[in-house]
């Protein structure tokens, strides 16, 4: 597999403000790279830099083996889908899709042939003669996709393409984008602030914060082994429980002590070989805390805690309790009998636990 996109030591400043700092990413042909982060983290700027719509301050952008750093967007062999769709309002759907080919002087027969292919692929043949103003949000989104597909580029760039759609349509289009990616085997770069979109679509995720890459990895890596507190907290819904605790080394393993409101600390034993400082933050996903008796495994330990709030969500029931001064969410089965204000036996599974340094926020295990 060849590298399709390489971003090397990229810096981007606006005046004296550093927007992106030392960005290094590389993806292979067929990869689906998702840039995710809170708003203002620089993810859209990075996409614009890859597209060539923003001048970069330092570094290189290599697409398909060619250094494109100083090449204009039209010669980078890319296609882009925008958040506002950016359809040309005075042109019909067909003209919107063929505009790029027309500008490049592709002959009319080829234009028509490609238009028909794409229209069929996206099931929008009946819309071809309409103007963007006469289309619904989902249809506009489809046309914007068609305009990118028809170009058959080396690289597809998506700038939060689903954020203007309602919740139901967003999920549908997400699946559709995933299917397109599988069918075409194309290389895509996708910007979103929605971590679920990132998890479901990506083959590789870049988590950004304040213009600095926090972690690069597959969705599973990012989810199971977050490199720092920011990634742990940002990825996953409900968020990972981050509980302050003290660690004491014992011959059989490490004892993790978590203080509780009633003064009687919760003590868990991690038998894997660890070398932890005294103060740590324990990261446990809600699904790693279950009701006792419903979870079996090597690292599972049970303890009784007071239930604060019960939130049934259909397939699961989320139960909140207090540990180490923080609210902790547990993901229980739907039929749980947990009631607010009553004690319940929880099962803690330390098989996928993360430990973080409270000072630096970085991962310890």
């Amino acid at each position: 597999m060849s590298l399709m996109l390489e971003v090397k030591n990229l810096y981007k400043n606006y005046g004296s403000v550093e927007i992106l700092k030392d960005i290094n990413v590389a993806i292979e042909q067929g990869d689906f790279l998702v840039l995710v982060g809170p708003s203002g983290c620089g993810k859209s700027t990075l996409l614009n830099c890859i597209a060539g719509l923003e001048q970069i301050t330092a570094g290189d952008v290599v697409i398909g083996g060619q250094n494109m750093t100083d090449v204009s967007p039209k010669d980078r062999d890319i296609a882009m889908v925008f958040q506002s769709y950016a359809l040309y309002p005075t042109m019909s759907v067909a003209k919107n899709i063929t505009f790029g080919m027309k500008v490049r002087g592709v002959d009319a027969d080829t234009q028509q042939k490609k238009l028909n292919e794409v229209a069929k692929q996206l099931q929008m043949e009946p819309l071809l003669n309409r103007k963007p103003g006469q289309l619904s949000g989902g249809q506009r989104q489809r046309v914007a996709m068609g305009r990118a597909l028809v170009r058959d580029p080396k690289l597809f760039l998506f700038d939060e393409p689903l954020s203007n759609l309602d919740a139901k349509l967003r999920v549908e289009m997400r699946t559709e984008i995933k299917r397109l990616h599988l069918d075409l085997g194309a290389t895509m770069v996708y910007v979103t602030h929605d971590q679920i979109e990132a998890m479901t679509l990506a083959t590789k995720i870049v988590v950004l914060k304040d213009g600095i890459i926090q972690q690069i990895g597959s969705p599973a890596e990012i989810y199971n082994n977050p490199k720092n507190l920011f990634v742990a907290d940002f990825m996953g819904s409900p968020a990972m429980n981050l509980i302050p605790a003290t660690a004491v080394s014992k011959p059989t393993g490490t004892e993790i002590k978590i203080s509780r409101a009633n003064g009687d600390p919760l003590v868990l034993m991690d038998k894997t070989k660890l070398d932890l400082p005294e103060n740590v933050i324990v990261g446990l996903r809600p699904e790693d805390i279950a009701e006792a008796g419903y979870r079996a495994g090597k690292g599972v330990q049970t303890a009784t805690c007071m239930v604060d709030i019960v939130e049934p969500a259909g397939a699961d029931t989320y139960v909140m309790t207090h540990l180490g001064g923080n609210e902790v969410t547990a993901r229980l089965h739907a039929e749980t009998q947990a009631k607010p204000g009553q004690p319940l036996d929880f099962a803690f599974d330390l098989g996928k636990v993360s430990y973080f340094d409270p000072e630096t926020g970085s991962r310890l295990n």
């Binding site: 967007p73 039209k74 925008f82 958040q83 950016a86 005075t90 790029g100 490049r104 305009r147």
Partner: protein, 298 residues
């Protein structure tokens, strides 16, 4: 409806008060309309009367014998100084002057607005501010420097010279109009077109101009009215043979000796004002629409 059953009398009084208010509003509006229409009425009736009738009748009375003689005199026989060819040649001058001046200033304004709104560069805001400043410079201030510039360019006293003056003076306004319109168009449109391979001119021509009808109408009306009605530049920078209609109208009214031919003056004034009236009637609908378009459309 529930109000009505609870307190019928109060409701009725409220309704009566509302109707009275509404009708007094109409009355006041009608009075204003009459007030503003009065000069036009006097001009029109006077232009259709004979001199004899003007002398004997009242200013407000309708003409007893309608005659179009004053109109034909004003058009082709009235004297503007020594020549007695009426308004016709000057009317033609005004057309030759205003059409290119309107077209050029609108096009330049559109290009300027496009650059300032969508292709920002270092200092583009400063340039826009300076152009805005140009809108507030009084005509009188630029007369002498402009005369000098026209002299250097060898355009003094010619119609191209007048066109030049009006284009320069109009760019501030036309740029303002187009910039404010184009700034409402999302920048992603330009980005999308860039990725599609279109350049500066192509994006302007294929994407922005087709979107611009409302603001083009506004600009054309504004510029046409300004340029057609202009007197000061016309009288300062023209010579015999290149004077616009406004200057000729002034000459007809001021250079007659003996009896004042009010009917000819009035007919000439109406003829001179006709094109701007026509433009408003034909395109007025778009004018209002265009002025509000930027604020409503996202």
């Amino acid at each position: 409806m529930t109000d009505f059953s609870i307190n019928p009398t109060g409701r009725k009084q409220g309704r009566f008060g509302q109707i009275a208010l509404r009708w007094s509003l109409y009355l006041i509006l009608c009075l204003f309309a009459l007030y503003y229409l009065m000069p036009l009425f006097v001009m029109l009736t006077t232009s259709l009367k004979s001199l004899e009738e003007i002398r004997t009748g009242s200013l407000l009375s309708l003409p007893r014998n309608i005659t179009f003689e004053a109109w034909s005199t004003a058009w082709s026989k009235a004297c503007t100084g020594i020549q007695c060819e009426g308004l016709r040649p000057y009317f033609w001058n005004s057309i030759l002057l205003s059409i290119p001046a309107v077209a050029i200033s609108t096009l330049i304004g559109a290009l300027n607005g496009y650059v300032i709104a969508q292709w920002k560069f270092k200092g583009s805001n400063l340039i826009f501010s300076l152009m805005l400043f140009g809108c507030f410079i009084p005509f009188q201030v630029v007369l002498l420097p402009m005369a000098r510039v026209l002299g250097i360019l060898d355009l003094a006293g010619t119609i191209p010279g007048l066109i030049f003056v009006h284009v320069v003076y109009g760019i501030g306004f036309t740029t303002l109009f187009f910039r404010n319109y184009y700034v409402t168009i999302p920048q992603e449109l330009v980005k999308a077109a860039k990725v599609d391979g279109a350049g500066f001119v192509r994006i302007f021509w294929s994407i922005f101009l087709p979107l611009s009808l409302p603001i083009v109408v506004v600009t054309v009306i504004w510029q046409f009215t300004q340029i057609w009605n202009d007197f000061l530049f016309g009288v300062s920078f023209s010579q015999a043979g290149t004077q616009p209609v406004t200057v000729a109208l002034n000459n007809i009214v001021n250079s007659t000796t003996g009896v004042k031919e009010y009917n000819v003056d009035m007919a000439a004034a109406i003829i001179a004002a006709m094109p701007t009236l026509l433009v408003y009637v034909v395109a007025g609908k778009y004018f209002i629409r265009g002025l509000t378009a930027g604020s409503v459309k996202g």
